[in-house]
């Protein structure tokens, strides 16, 4: 078990090096005149040159990469070229927002999806149709439309929640809830239904298994069979979908972050990448890749825990 985790993490490190290298090369290839963009339209050429020298942009590419790599190994990811803050501090504060957003959304999506999916699979009928239809709609409606509708109704007209801005939970829990509720709903709408659809399929599949009948033949009530046996067996596929959704949301929160003015990772990603804020993008790529590796590992471990047949090797 431990050696499995160690091996997975080692493979993850190789992956990280590969990803960062690719990202670095891509960024430089597309960076254009970064120094000019940092100092803006009104700066003189001399200032541009000075900026380039300050950032080491005049050095050969391999040297820049080496410098980044040695810094990164020592935990120094440099400072943003466009905002001056250290990449570590900046990412930490953004990650706190985005992870809160994504984790809450995943949690809510998981809970609701399980309930809806199980109901849809066991009751069929209208609730099944609602889940099916909802998953299609949730998939098809652009996220910003949902976000906009939520803002117009709940924040501008009803004033229940905040339309913009993020309040840290350390400052005020109720404020935090007010600032994060609408974004979470906007994000969750898309995934609840699709995960519920997956749960439904997995539950239907598990329900058709022979052991369900055998358990019932021993007098185990069908509700208990569903919630204990079927759900556990359906849990694997559902977890996999949740994992994919989680990873997808890491970058996909950008639209919601923009609409609600949340200082999250997605917004940072768009700004940093379009500006070619290389230290930031590298940090960002690294951070997301680490999260992806960890989430995948956690999902695999959870699946192994749920399903004894999955062998970790």
């Amino acid at each position: 078990m431990l050696s499995y985790i160690a091996r997975r993490l080692a493979a993850g490190v190789v992956l990280l090096v590969a990803i960062t290298t690719v990202a670095f090369l891509l960024l430089y290839a597309g960076g254009g005149n970064i120094a000019r963009r940092i100092v803006g339209q009104s700066a003189t050429e001399e200032v541009v040159a000075r900026k380039a020298a300050e950032l080491g942009l005049d050095k050969p590419l391999w040297e820049q990469y080496w410098n980044w790599l040695t810094g990164a190994v020592h935990g120094d990811f440099g400072r943003s070229w466009f905002s001056g803050e250290t990449v570590v501090a900046g990412l930490t504060s953004r990650l706190a927002v985005t992870l809160a957003l994504v984790c809450l959304t995943t949690l809510i999506a998981a809970l609701l999806a399980v309930v809806l999916g199980v109901l849809a699979a066991t009751r069929r009928g209208w609730i099944d149709k609602v889940v099916q239809f909802g998953s299609v709609l949730g998939f098809a409606i652009p996220g910003f439309l949902i976000a906009l509708a939520l803002v117009v109704v709940f924040s501008i007209n009803l004033g229940w929640f905040r339309a913009t801005g993020f309040i840290r939970p350390s400052d005020s829990v109720s404020g935090w809830l007010k600032s994060i509720t609408l974004p979470v709903i906007a994000l969750a709408v898309g995934s609840i239904a699709s995960v519920a659809q997956q749960v439904r399929g997995a539950v239907l599949d598990a329900l058709s298994r022979d052991y369900v009948r055998t358990l019932r033949s021993r007098g185990v009530p069908s509700r208990r069979v569903v919630y204990k046996h079927v759900l556990r067996n359906a849990g694997g596929p559902a977890l996999a979908v949740l994992g994919v959704n989680f990873i997808g949301m890491l970058g996909g929160t950008v639209i919601v972050e923009r609409m609600f003015l949340l200082p999250g990772l997605g917004q940072l990603a768009v700004n940093a990448t379009t500006q070619a804020d290389i230290p930031y993008v590298m940090g960002l790529v690294l951070a997301t890749a680490v999260i992806v590796v960890v989430v995948n590992l956690v999902i695999d471990l959870a699946q192994a825990a749920l399903n004894p047949r999955v062998r970790l090797s």
């Binding site: 960076g31 009948r213 007098g219 890749a289």
Partner: protein, 610 residues
């Protein structure tokens, strides 16, 4: 043997491999949702091809004097922020958006499918490398890659879609890879190999035909995602606003959302409808595939089609043999009295398909009643009906009576059966492996009903379970108790199931082909066990089987079933020695055990006709 650890849904689809393309399309056309979506997509394709020609006005011609106009006779959908006719633009934009989505999808499909086929079929180093690259691509934050790529190659919608196609390719790779590794070992692929087909031909013919449908489904989803991503990029202002596309229109509309909100409606509708159509189409395809896949499966179990023509069986008189000396010796009370049992399945069109057409059956305490018949004769349906455990859609039809120890069970609810299942009627299934929940230990599955039904404490239940495991002849009860189902053999698993069946001291045991899945030597031991338990606990047993040897070994009474009817019933010796019904006779004739051996090659004597 093991269908173990197959990762769920998509494989489920391909395991029930699809029928031909033609018939799938035809079936899709009969599906109202499918045909609606297809219709929309065909329309979309037409607009994509001819949109510019259909446009009432020049889609690029701006009119700064008449911008943000509301819909009017001249501009049916109004004008945009530079006064261009929105309808014309929408028609023209369709071309770009559809082409862009197609580009991404085609790239993803080609890349993913080709590599997936090669990696899955041949394995080896290509497998390792491509799997690693797929993992790498999947771990890349896709959005960041898209943005970075945009920075490198500029904001053209085509390059963005190429990159996005590459990013989506691992999805197809994994799908195809999983499908191919699953199909690679299918018997028909072996057969093709033995038939002398080249690898290219096997891939093209046999593997592709299986992965084709899942690919189409995934491609429909992928196209939808590509449409959405393209719109998302444009929405963020990261797209190519120079060309007319839905995303560019959306961007324009969003900027003017407070001035002319209707501007957003048209591209949103186009995007949403297209995504919905693609998703629903994928769903409809999947549904059709599942339906197609389910059909033969049902046949396999219920066996609707037969070799021997279409003989229609009338509810003729049942040939009932009188009691003989042996059966008279068994005079236990009547435990189960089934009268005129009919089982039917509700069909989507409201009709009912009847699979058991009114049978009578009696099981006495302390005796074993064999229900024998070929597949599809309705014997298993009868057993399920008695236990109230018919699959979804199935029910006991009006007029039937299932009296169990004086209680009417026919059509009973789950509540009615609550005190009966397990405690008074127990069940031994056919397939030992699939009847144990793979996720729980043997012990927990044994003790759960005991604790629920008998209210035993954990320790008591465990002790009882260990005793039972010992009783059914499991050498190391403690180890088996702690094991997961996949860790024990089929014979052991069947013993565990028998232990579970008798764990609540039932009066009636319903055993559905309890030894069919077992090896002969194991079968003999399990039959021995059932007989011993039956005598020991004075059980009434309803034994469902197709094997006359098993009947001869265990049964006191026999009912012969054919096509949902009992055609002949009586004491076991009467059936074997004095069969009256032609069907029973034909079955007995087919038994090979008494046929003479063929003898060595060249002996050249007549074979004994069966």
């Amino acid at each position: 043997m093991s269908t173990v650890a197959v990762p769920a849904v998509p494989l489920e689809v391909l395991a029930e491999a699809p029928a031909g393309k033609v018939s799938l399309l035809r079936r899709l056309l009969r599906n109202p949702i499918g045909v609606t979506c297809l219709g929309y997509l065909v329309l979309l394709a037409l607009v994509a091809v001819f949109g510019r020609l259909m446009a009432p006005q020049d889609p690029d011609r701006a009119d700064p004097g008449n911008f943000l106009a509301s819909p009017s006779a001249e501009h049916l959908m109004g004008t945009d922020s530079t006064g261009r006719d929105v309808l014309s633009r929408l028609l023209a934009a369709t071309q770009i958006s559809v082409a862009a989505a197609l580009l991404a999808t085609v790239i993803a499909v080609v890349l993913g499918v080709v590599t997936g086929l090669i990696a899955g079929y041949f394995g080896g180093w290509f497998d390792s490398i491509s799997s690693w690259i797929a993992g790498l691509l999947m771990a890349m934050p896709g959005f960041v890659v898209l943005l970075a790529a945009r920075a490198v190659i500029g904001p053209t919608v085509w390059m963005a879609m190429v990159v996005f196609g590459v990013l989506m390719a691992p999805g197809f790779f994994r799908l195809v890879y999983a499908a191919v590794t699953a199909v690679r070992n299918e018997l028909y692929v072996d057969a093709a190999r033995v038939a002398g087909l080249s690898d290219a031909r096997i891939i093209g013919r046999h593997i592709m035909s299986v992965v084709r449908a899942p690919i189409i489904i995934q491609a429909a989803m992928a196209a939808g995602i590509a449409v959405a991503i393209q719109a998302g990029l444009d929405f963020l202002g990261l797209g190519d606003l120079g060309v007319a596309s839905w995303g560019a229109m959306l961007n324009d509309g969003f900027a003017k959302i407070y001035n002319q909100p209707i501007l957003m409606l048209w591209p949103s509708l186009a995007i949403a409808l297209t995504c919905i159509a693609l998703t629903l189409l994928a769903n409809a395809l999947r549904d059709e595939l599942e339906r197609a896949g389910a059909a033969p499966k049902r046949k396999k179990k219920a066996g609707a089609a037969r070799d021997d023509g279409d003989v229609i069986i009338q509810a003729a008189d049942v040939i009932v043999h009188g009691a003989d000396a042996h059966s008279q010796a068994l005079t236990g009370e009547v435990l189960l009295d089934v009268h005129h049992l009919r089982v039917g399945y509700d069909q989507p069109d409201g009709s009912v398909t009847e699979v058991v057409h009114g049978i009578d059956l009696r099981v006495h305490r302390g005796s074993i009643h064999g229900l024998i018949g070929e597949s599809g004769s309705g014997k298993t349906q009868t057993a399920f009906a008695i236990m109230g455990l018919l699959p979804a859609g199935g029910r006991v039809l009006e007029g039937a009576s299932i009296m169990f120890a004086g209680q009417e069970l026919a059509g009973g609810s789950e509540a009615l059966y609550r005190g009966i299942l397990g405690k008074r009627i127990a069940y031994i299934p056919q397939e030992p492996m699939s009847n144990l929940d793979p996720s729980f230990t043997v012990g927990s599955q044994l003790t759960e009903p005991m604790r629920l039904a008998l209210g035993l404490k954990r320790a008591q239940a465990k002790q009882r379970a260990l005793d039972l495991l010992d009783r059914v002849g499991i050498p190391d009860p403690a180890r088996t108790f702690a094991a997961y189902p996949h860790e024990i053999s089929g014979g052991m698993a069947q013993r565990v199931l028998i232990a579970g069946a008798v764990s609540l001291d039932p009066q009636l045991l319903i055993a559905d082909e309890p030894t069919t899945a077992l090896d002969v030597t194991v079968q003999a031991e399990v039959l021995e066990l059932i007989r011993d338990l039956q005598t020991e606990l004075n059980l009434g047993v309803l034994l469902v089987t197709h094997n006359f040897g098993v009947v001869a070994d265990l049964c006191d009474q026999v009912s012969v079933m054919q096509r949902g009817l009992i055609v002949e019933a009586g004491p076991v010796r009467a059936i074997f020695h004095d069969a009256q019904h032609p069907y029973t006779q034909s079955l007995l004739d087919a038994i090979l055990d008494d046929a003479a051996p063929r003898g060595p090659l060249g002996a050249d004597r007549e074979e004994v006709a069966p």
